[in-house]
């Protein structure tokens, strides 16, 4: 019934152009159309945060956005944050502090945490828990996620000071 739309996105710095039905959910665009499989589908009902990506500077659950809404947007996924050869301080901290067990929630966790630390470079434990409340983890009990984010914050602040 509905026609395909011409969609333009920038994902992790790369321009993408394709035709898609407007009803396509952004998480499927990323995973199945663009083969960007870092963002995961956990609940698909905007609760779990596994599909979190950054869109025009906001943390967004990509299961709750139509690709049509994202037309023209600048999107960052976990793939744009770091890679195996150059881990982001948050990725390094999650590894060092056991911030993950099964790892399913981790791409969403870290993507959300990059934005949290951008807005609040020195969060308290309470601020981390509140700021990460849109991301669910069923393994860690959150304790080591909080520790990882705190460690990454210290690391990033130290690196920033050293650079100044």
């Amino acid at each position: 019934m509905s026609d395909k739309m011409h969609i333009k996105l920038k994902v992790n710095g790369k321009d993408e152009e394709f035709l898609a039905e407007p009803r396509e959910l952004l998480i499927y665009t990323l995973r199945e159309r663009l083969n960007i499989t870092g963002p995961h589908i956990g609940c698909e009902t905007s609760h779990c945060g596994a599909c979190t990506v950054t869109i025009d500077g906001k943390s967004v659950k990509s299961c709750t956005m139509f690709v049509a809404q994202a037309d023209g947007a600048d999107i960052t996924t976990i793939e744009g944050i770091g890679d195996a050869d150059s881990l982001h301080p948050l990725q390094m901290a999650f590894k060092e502090h056991h911030g993950l067990q099964c790892g399913y929630c981790t791409p969403g966790m870290i993507t959300r945490a990059t934005k949290l630390l951008e807005e609040n470079p020195n969060p308290t434990e309470e601020e981390i828990r509140f700021g990460m409340a849109g991301n669910i983890c069923r393994c860690t009990g959150y304790q080591n996620i909080v520790k990882s984010i705190q460690a990454a914050a210290s690391e990033m602040n130290a690196a920033k000071e050293a650079a100044e």
Binding site: R23, E44, S46, G49, K58, K61, L116, A133, G134
Partner: protein, 284 residues
């Protein structure tokens, strides 16, 4: 989850929105942050053949403070409400309530206009806007009109807004006195089991005015004039709070659901209102 197909519109101005609404009537719905409508579309509980995305409409995302008058554009997000220092100064209850809505990701997207226009009894802003005696601006083919928040809600998802109208903004006077938005929920991101919005003005140790509204305890938000009146003229002592809670319980009409049976909801409503009044009074 795959919603039914729809035609997507992204008009550049309100005239464009109105012409699509006029052409398609209740086959068209406007989309603000989408965090109520999109889940409903995914579940196929909402059928929207024409989806009108408001993201490109200019002038809907402003927070204007002019003396005592606050005007919030419909596309102002919960996170905008939280981050606006001038607004938090003049109307701190807005930030207190917004911080209790959903989670960070949802607050970046969810808007004040969507929250009040949707008519979901679980939404927090409708009760708050009734407490603050806000006015909603509606724009339709015959021009604009204002409807008071206290007159806007008819039943669950049924409001005074006509199909061909769009809610463009919310206007309110700077609230006076002490405030509290208290919400009981099962977990972060949940709707309220019960929530209470309270503004109280204190003069010479006595309450001179009080406004109270409750959330998710009926098929509409509940502004309880009687509960507020029970506090006026008192020192907001235990007896007065008890009287206000008793009056509120006469006005709500909760139904049993997965948040509990009616007796439990009434109990929680009483506890939440008592806490909200005490906290508002301590700030008055």
């Amino acid at each position: 989850m795959i919603p039914a197909a729809f035609e997507y519109h992204r008009p550049k101005d309100l005239a464009g929105v109105l012409s699509i609404l006029e052409e398609h009537g209740d086959d068209a719905r406007v989309l603000a942050g989408g965090h109520s409508l999109i889940p409903m579309m995914k579940l196929r509980m909402a059928d929207v053949p024409h989806l009108i995305d408001l993201q490109n409409i200019e002038g809907l995302d402003g927070i204007e403070i002019d003396g005592d008058t606050i005007r919030l554009g419909a596309m102002v997000t919960q996170s905008d409400l939280i981050d606006n220092a001038a607004l938090s100064e003049i109307a701190p209850i807005l930030k207190e309530a917004a911080l209790q809505i959903a989670d960070p990701q949802v607050r970046y997207m969810g808007t004040i206009g969507g929250n009040v226009a949707n008519g979901d009894p679980g939404n927090d802003m409708p009760g708050l806007m009734q407490c603050l005696d806000a006015t909603f601006s509606l724009l339709g083919p015959d021009g604009s009109r204002d409807v008071e928040a206290r007159e806007f809600y008819e039943a669950a998802y049924m409001t005074a807004r006509e199909d061909e109208e769009i809610l463009t903004g919310v206007t309110l006077s700077a609230p006076k006195g002490g405030y509290a938005y208290e919400k009981q929920k099962r977990k972060i991101g949940d709707y309220a089991t019960a929530a209470a919005a309270v503004q109280i003005v204190k003069e010479n140790g006595a309450c001179v005015s009080a406004s109270i509204a409750m959330t998710n305890l009926s098929d509409t938000p509940v502004y309880s004039e009687a509960a507020g009146n029970a506090l006026v003229g008192t020192a907001v002592d235990d007896a007065a709070i008890k009287a206000a809670v008793a009056a509120m319980l006469q006005d709500i009409d909760p139904t049993e659901d997965n948040r509990g049976p009616v007796a439990f909801k009434k109990h929680v409503a009483g506890v939440i209102l008592q806490r909200a009044i005490s906290r508002a009074w301590s700030r008055a």
